[in-house]
Symmetry: C2
Subunit: 351 residues, 2 copies
């Protein structure tokens, strides 16, 4: 598995007729080295298949210049976009990002933490899986002195910096908008999991009803895994009620999509008979017919803020900065699935 | 950055009243150790915050039990699903997968290869970025003796095992289907990039026209980056032609989606006036109205086959197995966007 022959900085120095320490500085992008020399050294290193032994360096200095990001799945536009935000800043600072997926499995999350610690990553940035209810594995990251920042799916059970959106506010805005559109029996799709985002959205839903003098009807709150199929089933159940809802606010875009399919199959008009809204602004929500009202979470901004908090912490080192909690304001995106009265001044578009 | 105090296998052995070599075997999941002991050791290791120094082990044995996967972006359903397929097999064999994104940037791809080699991954599995036209960085992986397998976006410029779908066949099936639906002027959205998948799809399009006695009209072949906006622009351009097309086959689902939006905005009926088909079977294609005809690439299967080829190669070690080229057959998914004649026996559904 080793390179053969093993090229050293001395070989590069000899080839270029410069000193080994100049080569070393050039490879580390030391600003004291001219751009021309830096480029010549990097080119020679590449041509000669020089492998900087970063692992040996990591053992000596405890640094790999790698940041491990754990997400439930990398294929959700939201997570992909947060990762992109983190990655942009990390790359600028000379760090590479590696992504690991927990698939919402507690076991996989634990194993991933172990693998990342073993690989001596410089830090861990994570969004907690839906099925994680204990946090020892994250405490191990902290005990190992490795910076840890959580985003979106976070927990107050850990003394850790968190970056999230105000899910309560996002949900509140959706329900307020639906009420202004004349909806009075607003159903909600939520998740039974112990993840704060869903609890906060449910709370926002309930508060908006209360503040507008509408009753909270348990029959209209349906708990599921919030995937497409769940949305279908939940909508079927709601259509079986004696008093059908006139709007559905789903805590996920996929759930709302399932509801849309069932409503269309039954020839129920959206938004005239049932208005619809989701949460997350997945790209497909603008492709559906009607396009889906949803909540944008500024995922790229979330990634950038997460990276900022992370690098502050990395810089502080053992000085243990006080954990920060950064809460971003989400934006309501009003589209045709909930606009009963045509584009209204101050209602259409981004709120 | 180091653990303090540093826990060793001797500490674990003392606590459990067993020998250090039993602890070591248990931590390595040696089958000679009973399940009960194995669990007790793992539990104690976790409680005591034991950090197996895998990097030191990697230096000694050249192994990290990490596989680096490079994809253009992890948020495309296709790539996510291939990664899932690879990950399932890797996890079963005790390997963890780390994902790196090239964002189709040649520079980032090169840097990622360097980072993965420095991290002493046990292998690299990659899908080449759209803008990559030279492959020295992949040759460095091979020269370092690290197993390399390419999938989907591959190249014959390297002596390397490849797993791909038959893009020519997929495109051929789409165009044949459109012709059977009565379409005679079939446009095609393609990419100018040097990526074989798009060239193969264009070739499949041209061959299907030829085999059915239809002319190849350059005016109907539009080159772009194949994103949603590109699809919109390409469709606008086609609508400006004296003889409009009666069908559009886009080499990407996003491009087809852009075309669908423009057709709907112009009140042009899909599929009666213009039939539409995409490629990749992104999940949103079943959400659109009408649902989009597309080609499924069996991404999960592709991931599994890729993992199989990879682990064969890993096992063979320095014996340098002959590179394999595995070509999977894609499946045409017929949906409403191209079905002019109602569900036909043998035509609707998966072909």
């Amino acid at each position: 598995m080793d390179n053969n022959p093993k090229v050293t900085i001395h070989d590069i120095a000899q080839r270029l007729g410069i000193t080994a320490s100049t080569v070393s500085r050039a490879l580390n992008d030391n600003p004291r080295i001219s751009e021309a020399t830096r480029k010549a050294v990097h080119r020679a290193a590449r041509q000669m298949n020089y492998q900087p032994n970063n692992i040996a360096a990591a053992l000596r200095h405890g640094r790999s210049r790698l940041i491990g990001i754990i997400v439930p799945t990398a294929d959700r536009a939201f997570f992909a976009s947060v990762v992109r935000g983190i990655e942009e800043m990390a790359n600028q600072l000379g760090y590479k990002v590696i992504i690991c997926q927990s698939y919402d499995s507690y076991e996989k999350e634990v194993q991933t933490i172990d693998a990342l610690l073993s690989a001596r990553v410089d830090g861990v940035i994570a969004s907690i899986g839906k099925n994680t209810e204990t946090f020892d594995h994250y405490q191990r990251v902290q005990r190992a002195g490795v910076p840890l920042v959580l985003f979106d799916r976070t927990t107050d059970a850990l003394e850790v910096s968190q970056v999230m959106v105000d899910d309560h506010l996002g949900a509140y805005k959706v329900v307020e908008h639906l009420i202004r559109q004349g909806c009075r029996r607003i159903a909600h799709f939520t998740s039974p999991k112990k993840v704060s985002i869903f609890k906060e959205r449910l709370r926002g839903y309930a508060d908006a009803l209360k503040d507008n003098g509408l009753p909270y009807d348990e029959e209209l709150v349906v708990s599921s895994n919030l995937q497409l199929e769940d949305g279908r089933e939940s909508m079927q159940r709601l259509l079986g009620l004696e008093h059908r809802p006139d709007a559905v606010f789903s805590s996920s875009d996929y759930g709302a999509m399932g509801a849309m399919q069932v409503l269309k199959e039954h020839g129920i008009k959206i938004p005239q008979e049932v208005a619809l809204a989701g949460f997350s602004n997945e790209p497909f929500t603008s492709f559906t017919d009607p396009a889906l009202t949803t909540v944008d979470q500024f995922s790229l901004t979330m990634g950038k803020r997460t990276a900022e908090v992370f690098f502050e912490q990395l810089k502080a080192g053992n000085k243990n900065p006080v954990p920060q909690k950064i809460v971003l304001k989400p934006e309501l995106i009003v589209r045709a699935s909930s606009l009963r009265t045509g584009p209204l001044a101050g209602e259409a578009g981004h709120l």
